[in-house]
Symmetry: none
Subunit: 169 residues, 2 copies
DNA sequence: ATTGCTGCAAACGATTTGCATGAGG
DNA sequence: CCTCATGCAAATCGTTTGCAGCAAT
């Protein structure tokens, strides 16, 4: 039951400059918590930054193996956790039981609509949401920093599937 | 990491009338898809409607066993899926790997603004958010069921604390 | 040298399914 | 009577961990 998230066009490709900055963030995080800088971790970060969508650990592992087939699943898994720790990645638990990650570096805040049947998702950006954030903050005297917004529903394909099922009865 | 939803006093207790309506919705859903009305399913729905928070299948099972110790985990699990199917429940996949459900019957969706310093929160309701949900759903041909919206920031009191700290330096 | 890293394999745990028995229509 | 429901036990599958050998500092 693993339907991949819907592909979303976006132009979030990072410049070399941005990639260097992200590596910098990662390296100083490693130093701060007393961990080592390794080739694998570098490769995983670089591959991850090239992606634009939600990726499961397994999917990222598949991509990473293209640049170095000797990198194991466990290393990808653990590196993804490190990246989340220092804010470069953020994970979303999907309804199919798989946690998918996306890189957060140099991306403007965006939101997700997730299908509760198949777990596929659509990414969108809404200025209205940002306005609500500002208004609510002002009203309650908060200095707001960020928000999360998710919409749940059933995608077109799953709606059709349900109709077909029902017609069979 | 997963911060569990804060306990918020709310008076979402359902009237007997509402409970009957929910049962009605459930029963006609069962009929529609050719399933049977059983004592267990009734008991599970009733227990579920009494709750106010996110519950894992296991937690609901524990509660259900209080009214009938013979009801098994699998039945609760499957009933929860049925409830989600007809819109009476909605599940959220938490980051600890557990899916928790909350009943959606006669609850307006509400949102939280959380202080990232002290964890205190403000609850609010925003019609604009509901409108964005509808619009986005329409645009991408989703039938939307609900949304979550959280704003993060720093509350007034914590802002003042920070000023004081700064003045000490 | 010391300490952490890697990757395999095995453990874990929530979820899901197969199946024999029991209940609803 | 026939069909679906139930609940146990077993299977599944993503995630996490133990450990022996390897690499970074």
């Amino acid at each position: 039951m693993t339907t991949l998230p819907k592909r979303v066009d976006d132009n979030t490709a990072l410049s070399n400059e941005s990639i260097r900055e992200a590596e910098e963030i990662f390296n100083s995080h490693l130093k701060r918590v007393g961990l080592k800088h390794t080739e694998q971790r570098d490769a995983i970060l670089r591959t991850f930054l090239e992606t634009h969508e939600h990726l499961s650990t397994e999917e990222l592992h598949r991509l990473v193996k293209r640049s170095d087939p000797r990198i194991g699943f466990t290393t990808v898994y653990r590196t993804l956790k490190l990246l989340a720790e220092c804010g470069l990645a953020s994970g979303v638990a999907f309804h199919d039981g798989v946690t998918r990650y996306e890189h957060q570096y140099n991306r403007r805040s965006h939101h997700h609509m997730v299908c509760t049947e198949c777990g596929s998702s659509v990414e969108f950006f809404s200025p209205e949401i940002e306005k609500v954030e500002r208004d609510i903050g002002q009203k309650h005297h908060y200095v707001t920093t960020r928000n999360t917004f998710q919409v749940y529903g059933i995608c077109e394909r799953c709606q059709k599937k349900k109709h077909i099922k029902r017609e069979l009865h």
